[in-house]
Every structure is written in C-alpha cells, then in structure tokens.
C-alpha cells in the first residue's frame, strides 16, 4: 500500500467560513477607510512627524514582508533541501507567502505621501536606491512564487518544481537582504548602519514565517476537518525552536557589536536601559515574549507535546516579531542622531532630544488591514484551488509509522 497525499479545495460553504472571510473583509475595509482618512487629510492625522518619519504602518509592513519570505521557507525545505515531509506543506506555504507580501506591500504603498504616484515608483528607478532594488524584488517574488505554485499543481510541470523552488528560495533570500539593507545602509543613525541587519532579517523571517505558518496550518486543518498528525506538528515545532535560538543569537551579536564601540553607548543605553517604551518593548516584547518564553515552551518536556502550547508559542513569536520591528524601526528614529558628537544639542526642531511617538488609530488600522488582506486572500484561495492536503496524518507523514522501510515510505509520501 503506497500512501499518497491528495490535495483538495476546502468546501467553504459553512457559516463559519463566510463569517471568517467576512471578518477579514470587514477589517480590510476598515483599513482602507483609515487610508482614506490619512490620504484625504494628510499625514498630520497620524502620529508620524518629521523625526519619526516611518511609524506603525512600517512596523506592520516590514514585519509582513519579511514574514512573507519566511513563510515560503516551508516549501523551500521540501524543494531545495529535499525533505519529503515538507512537500505536502508546500502549496499552502507558497500561497501564504504570496498573500503576506501582498498585504505588506499594500500597507507600505498606502502609507506613501503620494500613493497615487505608484506608477512613478514603478517607472522611475534610481539604480543606487535600496528601495528601488526592492521595487524590483517584490514583483519578482510574486512571479517566482506563482510559477512555483503552478509547477507544483500542474502534473506536467511537476518535474520542474525543484528548479522553480530553488529559484524562489534564492529570490526570497535576496528579497529579505533587500529589506534588511533598507535599514542596514542608513549611515546617519546609530540604530541602523549595520550589515548584520540583512542576515538578521533573514533569520527573523524564518522565525516569523514559520510561526504564522504553524498557526495557519493548525487553523486550516481544524476548521476544514482535516487530520493533522503529531509528526508534522512536532517537526515544525522543533524547527521553530532552532529558528528562535538563531534569532536570539543574532539579537545578541547585534547589540554586542554595537556595545563595543563607545560611539553607540548612548543608543544602546537607550534601547537596553532607559528608553521607556522602547526598552520595555525590547525586553518584554522582543526578548521575553518573542524569544525566551516560546523557546522554553517548544523544548519543555510536556508543554512541547501540547498543540495548544505550540500554538501559543507561535503566537508569541509573532507578537515578539512585531515588538522587534517597533524597537528597530521606531526606536532607531526616536533616538537623536549624532549630528554634533561631543556637544549637548538643543533646538526648536528636536535636536538632541528623544522624540516621542504615539501611533494613531489610522496607522494601526492600515496595518491590521494589510494582515486582513493576506488572511482573506489565503481563506479565499484555499476554497477555489487545492492548496491544502486532504490529510496530514501520521500514517501519511511519518516515515516510521507502520513502515518497515523508512526510505521507501518517504519517497512515496512525496
């Protein structure tokens, strides 16, 4: 008996399904309403100003864009690294990567001062701008993922899905490098200007993306009544643990490097000790909720066996991820720029002062609208196309399950 994974679209006729889609749709509409307020009035209705120029929308947008490339990682593990168990997880992974990039870009674009000039952004490219590189990387990612999904779904093209997956994997590494470099190449501010930000963003994308994927997979299987075996959950959970540990390492190295240079002591003291909300966000949000607690859960002897706890750990990684974006993006701007080293500086334009920032409801609304778009796209797509496997039971997924010859079973599961 050869167990084979079949995919099918979810039925999607229940009240719960339409309720879910309706909720996402409503949140998306509210987000677009927030955009209307912001763009109609101008950015004075937001908490942003001439000092904190990137606010809450960027926290959401950058989080979603790096998470998008991380979500695709689940598929890459199958296609690039040949892990058969991940193969049935690939379609949903690619779909969600696409949806989250769309959501993130929606937020980024609609926060522009002139979103009506999108065509200009696409047609006038300054080759030296990291932003312009990203403007090329985003559609490339969409195209790579679309082709990849097509090759996975179309039997005749299956043979090329490995190549398509490899291409998408390389592209997503470039994409996250580009995202990290938006900050890493900013020489003016103590909080940025670090090449390590690019690889750090890649590692963060692994973590955020996997956490989002685990929660979505659990929800999809549960709500559509499909079996999700322990072996899949266990594997994903273990991988999440490795990614959290890697994130922890990068955060540690980033601040250690920064601390070594005296010029950065002021900034480090601000983030680590006396920065108020940023210090709290760093320690409580990023380190404790985003790293230590989920790490403890996924390696805890009994908690790690509970799906509820694994779900909670994944949610914590997402919350910590948003906190990390807040610390990096807002904290990096709130701390005064070193324009006159060695002097105490004051002016009518906030020189030498920590700038306060209170996000407005419109900015948060836009961010949530972006997440709603990604989730609505996913919810809709799994109804119209076969993205989700009929079953991810241990029988199908676990090579050791009733299988006398593991290698053979693995190959067949693919």
């Amino acid at each position: 008996m050869k167990p084979v994974v079949h995919y099918s679209a979810i039925e999607g006729r229940s009240l719960a399904y339409w309720g879910l889609l309706g909720t996402f749709g409503l949140l998306l509409l509210l987000g677009l309403g927030a955009v209307w307020v912001m763009e109609h009035n101008g950015h004075y209705v937001t908490g942003m100003n001439n000092h904190i120029v990137w606010g809450m929308p960027h926290v959401f947008a950058v989080f979603m864009i790096i998470a998008a490339s991380g979500i695709l990682n689940v598929a890459s593990i199958a296609s690039v690294f040949g892990k058969k168990m991940y193969k049935p997880l690939s379609r949903l992974s690619a779909l969600m990567a696409f949806a989250f990039l769309a959501g993130g870009l929606m937020v980024l674009m609609l926060d522009l001062g002139r979103p009506d000039r999108l065509v200009i952004a696409a047609t006038y490219l300054n080759p030296k701008s990291v932003f312009a590189w990203n403007i090329l990387l985003y559609p490339g990612f969409f195209a790579a993922v679309l082709v990849y999904v097509w090759f996975m779904m179309e039997k005749r093209m299956n043979q090329y899905s490995h190549q398509a997956g490899l291409f998408a994997f390389v592209w997503r590494l470039l994409l996250t490098t580009g995202t990290g470099s938006i900050f890493g190449f900013v020489i003016a501010r103590n909080g940025y200007d670090a090449a390590v930000l690019a690889p750090m963003f890649i590692i963060m994308s692994f973590g955020f993306g996997l956490a989002i994927y685990i929660l979505s997979l659990m929800a999809t299987c549960r709500w559509s009544g499909r079996e999700l075996g322990d072996s899949v959950v266990r594997q994903l959970k273990n991988l999440l643990g490795v990614f959290i540990a890697a994130m922890f390492y990068f955060v540690f190295v980033f601040h250690l490097t920064s601390l070594y240079g005296t010029e950065n002591h002021g900034f480090e003291a601000f983030i680590l000790m006396d920065g108020g909300i940023y210090t709290q966000m760093f320690w409580i949000g990023w380190v404790v909720i985003g790293l230590l607690l989920p790490l403890g859960i996924v390696y805890h002897p009994s908690m790690s066996k509970s799906r509820a706890w694994i779900g909670i750990a994944s949610a914590m990684v997402i919350v910590g991820g948003l906190a990390s974006m807040y610390v990096i993006i807002i904290g990096g701007q709130a701390y005064p720029m070193p324009i006159f080293p060695g002097f105490e500086v004051s002016s009518s334009f906030g020189d030498g002062q920590v700038i306060s920032y209170a996000p407005s409801i419109w900015e948060i609304g836009l961010g949530i609208g972006g997440i709603a778009l990604a989730l609505a796209m996913t919810t809709f797509a799994v109804k119209v196309l076969p993205f989700v496997p009929d079953s991810l039971s241990d029988e199908l997924m676990d090579p050791h399950y009733k299988a006398p010859e593991p290698e053979e079973a693995e190959a067949e599961a693919a």
Binding site: M48, N50, G113
Partner: protein
Amino acid sequence: MSDQKIDQYRREFLGKTSAAAATGAIAPGVMLMSVGQAQARPLDEAVSSANRWGLLIDSNKCADGCSDCVKACESENAWGSGSSDEQKSDAAQKAQWIRTVTLKNKLTEKEHQLPMMCQHCEHPPCVDVCPTGASFKRADGIVLVDKHICIGCRYCMMACPYKARSFIHEELNDQAPDVPRGKGTVESCTLCVHKIDRGDGSTACADACQHKAIIFGDLNDPNSEIAQEMKKHATTQIRADLNLNTGVRYRGI
C-alpha cells in the same frame, strides 16, 4: 521681487535670447563664450558644474537668540511664519528648512549657536536612497527635490545625517510662486535656487544676517569671498567623518 527687478530680468533675458538667436544663426561657437560671463543664467541653458554654490557659516559671529536667517527663509520660501499654511500640523510635523541649533560643550559648558539646513553634499545620502530619483543634485551642487516625482516615501529623511528635510503633512494653499511645495512630498533648503537662477547672487539667510555670519558664494571660484575666507581660516564640515563633501561649511564649531 520688485517690479523693477522683474523688468530688469526680462530685459536681460530678452536681450540675451535675441543675441543668442542671432549668434546662433551666424556663428554657433561664439554664443557659449558670451553667455558664460552673464550673471543670470537663461532658463534654456543647463546648470554648469563650473560653479559649486555653498555657504560659509561662522558660528562665532552667530548671535545667541537671533533667528533672522530663519525668519528670512520663512518669508522668502513661504513656510512657517511666511505662510498661512500648516495650521493643522503639530510642531514636530511642521516644515523646518533652517533652524538654529544651540551647542553646549560638555566639558566647559560653553554655549554657542549656529544655523542648520540642508548641507548640499557632493555625495548626498538622500539622493542615493531616493527610489525614483526625485531627490537629486544639480550640476552646480544644489540638492533639490523634484516635486513631480516624489512619492513621499520619506526614505531621504531616514538617510539624511543632518535632519534637514521635512515632509508636508497637509494640504497647502499659500505657496510662493517660485517655490513649489505640496502635501505628501518632502522638501528642504533649496539654497534659494530661484534667487541663484535669476542672478541675485545670494540667499535669503545670508542677506538677512546682520552679523555677517553667513557668506554665500561659489566654492569653485578662487576669487569669491567664500573661497577667500575658507583659504584664510580653518573650516569644518558637520559629520565630516561621512565624507560627503558638504557645500555648507562652518567656522567655530
């Protein structure tokens, strides 16, 4: 600009263009030489890298509490008190093209102040990062924003080491004819480019400074006052470590 000045400019412009048309028909090579010596640059002539416009600011002369340069800039370029706009924006959201900064020596507690504005870098980070090329540097060293292609992404504001740029947070209606500004785009000191192009030979801030703390001029012209002063005295660039070769130089920091 007074009516008299406009007339004078028109006369010069018409005179030059008709002369150019005539010489253009007879001897094309001669025209370049004759126009090169003119004060005001005709609108159809490209900006030349032969000039590098800049400012020299002597913070020793900059009087504590004085903000004449800021007020002059506001009225010349119609921002801040020079315009009825930006009533809805809060203090941190309002545009600020030029500001006075007070520096206090941490050891000696000696205080002095100086005006800060766009430093018109030779290698401007704002131009590097701008995705559309809206942020650009003219051949004569003036760093500007093309309001037609600025998408309002604010990346230039993230990248500028001098915090010289402002974003417009609301609708504007009270702009000066020579100074384009608009909601959702970024702006900064233009080095009074409209004054330079019409041959005024100065900026509003330099004109307004009674203490002669601001000198405007051509850094490339060894005979200009600014070049002569910089030859005589030690000057510094703010954040010289970034190697941006700023067009605005300081004395006394």
